[in-house]
């Protein structure tokens, strides 16, 4: 009897609206476990120095934001966003492994040359934009979150103590590693009719897990997708499969992106 009362109470709570105040923090060492969980599938199921990668992100306190809930005893990160200079950190094991991974999964010949260049010779001008969050993070947070990131990058170019550090934030280009759902028939031109879903994928056969990725994609220099082994828990449509998605976005396009992001949230 007691357990059925508990169940009824639980259902009531589910139907109600939960008020949550989100707060943005600088990354700190205590966030290690929470951020690591958010980045668990960053490079699919590859075994790599994920702990080292998380340490790198948390050590960079001038640029990077961790989103938490006000007054949460658990102090759990709900989202992490940061930009890491690929040249500055090129000697770290995690960055080497990340580069190896991306070069391995890139199946498109035209793109792989650009990718190699971006991660090699041009690495000191490239920022790896890391943005991971819990699935249900309210989209209203996205504009301030991205504003925080790009503002911090620009402040760092003035405030960092050494010229070397200041220059390390003068990114010419951002590299993003993300995930999308691609319709299984998306590459077959004769199946155009099948692809037209209920408007949720905008006709190109792609469902963007992170809404801002669509904007990034449209503004990107180039992009490529690759098959993943890890399956997201909710595969609502059997015709879509989870794929990794890599994009390069020039810094010059960022202000357009920021404007578009404002209107994206207003619409929803």
């Amino acid at each position: 009897m007691e357990s059925s009362l508990k169940q009824k109470l639980f259902v009531c709570l589910l139907k109600g609206v939960v008020q949550a105040d989100f707060v943005f923090f600088d990354p700190k060492p205590d966030d290690f476990h929470g951020v690591k969980i958010l980045l668990q599938t960053y490079l699919d199921d590859t075994q790599w120095d994920l702990s080292g990668f998380v340490d790198l992100i948390l050590a960079q306190t001038t640029v990077g934001t961790v989103v938490k809930i006000e007054g949460d005893d658990d102090d759990t990160p709900f989202a992490i966003v940061t930009a890491l200079n690929l040249g500055r950190y090129k000697d770290h094991k995690c960055i080497k492994e990340l580069k190896e991974f991306l070069l391995k999964v890139c199946q498109e010949k035209d793109v792989i040359r650009d990718l190699r260049l971006l991660m090699g010779e041009q690495a000191h001008d490239v920022g790896l934009l890391v943005s991971q969050r819990v699935v249900n993070l309210p989209p209203q947070l996205l504009p301030p979150l991205h504003d925080a990131l790009f503002d911090e990058v620009s402040w760092a170019t003035e405030d960092e103590p050494t010229a070397e550090l200041r220059n390390s934030f003068r990114f010419k280009c951002y590299l993003l590693v993300s995930k999308i759902y691609k319709h299984k028939n998306a590459n077959q031109k004769n199946n155009r009719n099948l692809i037209r879903r209920s408007g949720s994928d905008g006709g190109d056969g792609i469902v963007y897990i992170k809404p801002e990725d669509e904007n990034f994609h449209k503004l990107s220099l180039w992009s490529f997708s690759f098959p993943m082994h890890t399956q997201q828990v909710e595969t609502q449509e059997a015709n879509y499969c989870l794929m990794g998605f890599v994009m390069a976005v020039e810094t010059a396009k960022i202000s357009t992106f920021r404007q578009q992001l404002q209107s994206l949230v207003v619409e929803s």
Partner: protein, 245 residues
């Protein structure tokens, strides 16, 4: 000695494996290196068996066992049950139980003599544990947490418990379990001891995030440095042969 390893990118070794003095279970589907690390340490001494439970890989959290038996949740399929019965030594009684709290590994922690159980466990389950695993069962909490299997891990030689366990609780538990206990962490400050490591009387496996300090505490409290696996297993074999006669 304690070994550090990862399951895919997770350091929660105690989630994907279950180690006892008589056998070791390892989740299927991880990379071969996970399985082969266990094999390398244990193959000569006890069987290492790959399995799933109810189609799940989180086997360490779903089952509980010791040298006398293995208890499985009601979600275990018939094929899995048969596979385990076939693969484990005959003296290990494999039983599937009807308990509402099906994550047995989270609710129960045990060694070969004593078990700590979740306070809401069925009376019937408690009897089965005592019977199949050959242990004395105590309903306890650990630092206020009812999931005793998650927040502590103990062998016949020592135990590690949640870092916020008070001194009084530590003493009380130590008296109940008759082994020395230490409050500590695994995997770089994680309090979920049961998920982060798996241990028996001569060896332990923990996540690769475990710091050198944590590792040295583990090796010390579980007395792994002087441990001789063959001696321990021979002792067990002798007592088993006695009981047959």
């Amino acid at each position: 000695m304690a070994t550090r390893l990862m399951f895919e990118n997770s350091c929660e070794v105690g989630v994907f494996s279950k180690l006892t003095n008589a056998f070791c279970l390892v989740a299927i589907g991880g990379s071969e290196s996970f399985y082969s690390t266990f094999e390398a340490e244990l193959a000569d001494v006890i069987p290492v068996v790959k399995t799933s439970i109810g189609g799940n890989r989180i086997i360490g959290r779903l089952c509980v066992g010791n040298k006398n038996g293995l208890l499985l949740p009601h979600t275990t399929t018939d094929q899995e049950l048969q596979h385990l019965r076939n693969s484990l030594p005959d003296q290990v009684v494999v039983q599937r139980i009807e308990e509402r709290l099906s994550a047995l590994g989270n609710c129960i922690a045990c060694n070969d003599h004593v078990a700590l159980a979740h306070t809401d466990l069925d009376r019937e389950t408690e009897e089965i544990i005592a019977d199949v695993l050959g242990v004395e069962v105590f309903r306890q909490t650990i630092a206020g947490n009812i999931l005793v299997g998650s927040y502590c891990s103990f062998s016949n030689r020592g135990g590690l418990v949640h870092p916020h366990t008070s001194i009084e609780d530590l003493d009380e538990l130590s008296t109940l379990l008759q082994v020395p206990l230490v409050a500590g962490t695994v995997n770089r400050g994680s309090e979920v001891i049961g998920a982060g490591l798996t241990v028996n009387d001569w060896t332990a496996f923990c996540g690769s995030d475990t710091t050198a300090t944590e590792l040295s505490v583990i090796e010390s409290v579980f007395k792994l440095r002087e441990a001789q696996p063959n001696a321990i297993v021979d002792e067990m074999r002798k007592s088993l042969i006695d009981s047959y006669v």
